[in-house]
């Protein structure tokens, strides 16, 4: 028995009543197109978020001062020392998982070159900052260990600062007034763009030591950032840092350790939740579609009772009848699946195109796995929900069926 012939015949049967076939397929079409288009939206969102997080650097822990609640403030009044340079040095020396570490000292001040000036947030950092934050140097060089050791008055600028103050002039080697100090520009960072409101090109970097000595006048830190050597060690590093800091701060928890890993994991949790909802919706609509197919197939079997009787009279076995109707229901759902894929890809691409215009950094993604999954589900739905009607058809008594009015 040739399956392909039966399949072609089945498709022809569907064409005989296009409206009914179309309505029957609707559930599957909607289910499959929903899976594809929604998964592409979720994927696009996930990619954008992960990209964003990774652009800030990977495997990072940041330690910041924490504002204590009223209770703790009273308990530990006067004993909070805040975040100090010594904390960073201690962590660097004591925690084995630390691959890179940089303190960050923020200083808001006026910048001046020639007749141009603007205010800016100067960041005092060490040479490790480049690798930690995934910055690339476009022109010149980055801050060096030597610069920090010798308290050099050198600065590395982002492209936006350069264009604001220097215009088209090459800033390398030029003097830049930072506050009441004269710095020399030694490097320009490569353009990085903005993500989620943070403009990575609006950057002024100077050595941390220089910043402490000449700008702030103290060793207080705004934060320090640790790059952990491996993802698996993030939690261990977190705990060690917490322990050491608590000891060093006499049990006063005036600091907070934030893990970028935590951010990623939160994102993953949100994505997972979305995927579950998505999966549930798709499963539901496919279920509805399947029931629709079963319903119509039952009606079809009843309508074609005499035909089934005739086929049996001519020698069709039960299996032959079963296969015929099973293939018919599979054909409906497969066709619905194909149409659903077309719709889903169109919707997903369309939405991605729109999103790219509204949100920077969005990439339109069509998951091939979603397409395959959708197709596979469509086929399964047809075979599963078509089984009962096909069985009923196969079990018909030939003599009775022939004479059915």
């Amino acid at each position: 028995m040739n399956m392909i012939e039966i399949f072609v015949d089945a498709i022809r049967n569907l064409g005989a009543n296009k409206l009914r076939s179309g309505l029957t397929m609707l559930g599957v079409i909607i289910g499959v197109s929903a899976v594809i288009s929604m998964s592409s939206i979720v994927e696009g969102g996930k990619q954008m978020t992960v990209e964003m997080i990774e652009k800030m650097g990977t495997n990072l822990l940041s330690v910041r001062p924490k504002r204590m609640d009223k209770e703790d403030r009273l308990k530990f009044s006067g004993r909070s020392k805040g975040l100090r340079y010594g904390d960073a040095e201690l962590i660097q020396a004591s925690v084995p998982y630390v691959e890179q570490l940089t303190p960050v000292i923020n200083f808001q001040t006026q910048l001046r070159y020639g007749d141009k000036d603007r205010s800016g947030m100067v960041e005092g950092v060490l040479e490790s900052y480049r690798e930690i934050r995934n910055y690339d140097v476009g022109r010149g060089r980055f801050l060096s260990e030597e610069d920090a050791k010798t308290f050099k008055k050198v600065a590395v600028l982002g492209t936006e600062v350069v264009s604001d103050l220097f215009g088209k002039v090459d800033p390398l080697g030029k003097d830049l007034q930072i506050g009441n100090q004269r710095f020399v520009v030694i490097g320009v960072l490569q353009e990085k763009g903005s993500l989620h409101g943070i403009n990575y090109d609006d950057t002024i970097l100077v050595p941390a030591t220089t910043a402490m000595k000449l700008l702030t006048g103290n060793d207080a830190l705004n934060s320090f950032i640790v790059k952990v050597d491996q993802r698996e060690n993030m939690q261990k590093a977190d705990r060690m840092i917490h322990e050491l800091m608590m000891k060093r701060h006499d049990g006063v928890e005036d600091f907070a350790i934030r893990s970028q890993d935590e951010l990623l994991r939160n994102t993953e949790l949100i994505i997972f939740t979305f995927r579950v909802i998505l999966g549930g919706t798709a499963a539901l609509s496919l279920l509805v579609g399947g029931i629709g197919i079963m319903n119509i197939m039952l009606v079809t079997v009843t309508e074609r009772t005499a035909e089934i009787g005739l086929r049996k009279a001519l020698g069709a076995s039960r299996r032959a009848i079963l296969f015929q109707f099973l293939i018919e229901s599979t054909a409906i759902s497969l066709l619905g699946g194909l149409i659903g894929i077309l719709f889903g890809v169109a919707l997903g691409t369309g939405f991605g195109w729109l999103a790219q215009r509204a949100i920077t950094g969005w990439t339109a993604v069509i998951l091939p796995s979603a397409v395959i999954l959708g197709f596979f589900f469509a086929m399964t739905v047809g075979m599963t929900f078509g089984l009962y009607p096909a069985y009923k058809a196969a079990q018909l008594d030939p003599a009775e069926a022939l004479r059915y009015q």
Binding site: K312, P398, L402
Partner: protein
Amino acid sequence: MLIALKEVSKTYKMGEVSVKALDQTSFTIDKGECVAIVGPSGSGKTTLLDIIGCLSRPTSGDYLLQGQAVQDLSDAELARTRNKKIGFIFQTFHLLGRNTALVNVSLPLFYAGHAREERLARAETALSTVGLADRIHHRPNQLSGGQQQRVAIARALVNDPEIILADEPTGNLDSKSGQEIMKLLLELNQKGQTLILITHDRELAERTKRTLMIKDGRIVDDIRR
């Protein structure tokens, strides 16, 4: 002996009530015979057709087709027997409306497992035999009643069956077409095809060489001419 029925009974259960459609019928039919089975409606002739045509099994008794006891066959074997040995012709033609005459006639060959080219070739030959060579791609709704019945006859012949079972073949036809069909069937019988004709029309029955009269599930007369 092609067909032998021995004390065949068939009882149907309609809810609480049992209906005895056939009551200990016995007869034999030889190869090449032309037999009419005549009786009023409710006499059991339809049930007899079902038994002979292997569409249902007797409740008791033996039905031997070419020496093979049909009641012992499984459902799948019954289907195969119908496919190979029986050619059905029905009052309402029972053609597939969505397919051409050619495809309709090829259907028994499809269930016999033949390849497509062979099926269509043999179907075309069968259609020529009944004089419809120029209509093979017509659909039933493009054919007259007489033509449709001829397609059905071609279909019944295509697998070279032992028996042609015709159930009121002229019932849905006008007298002219009816005559043509009877003429065709009798011609086929003359060429050696065993023909069993079920009808309530005595005039029709008189054109056959043998008539079995059935009443209340029993054979009441066996007239040979």
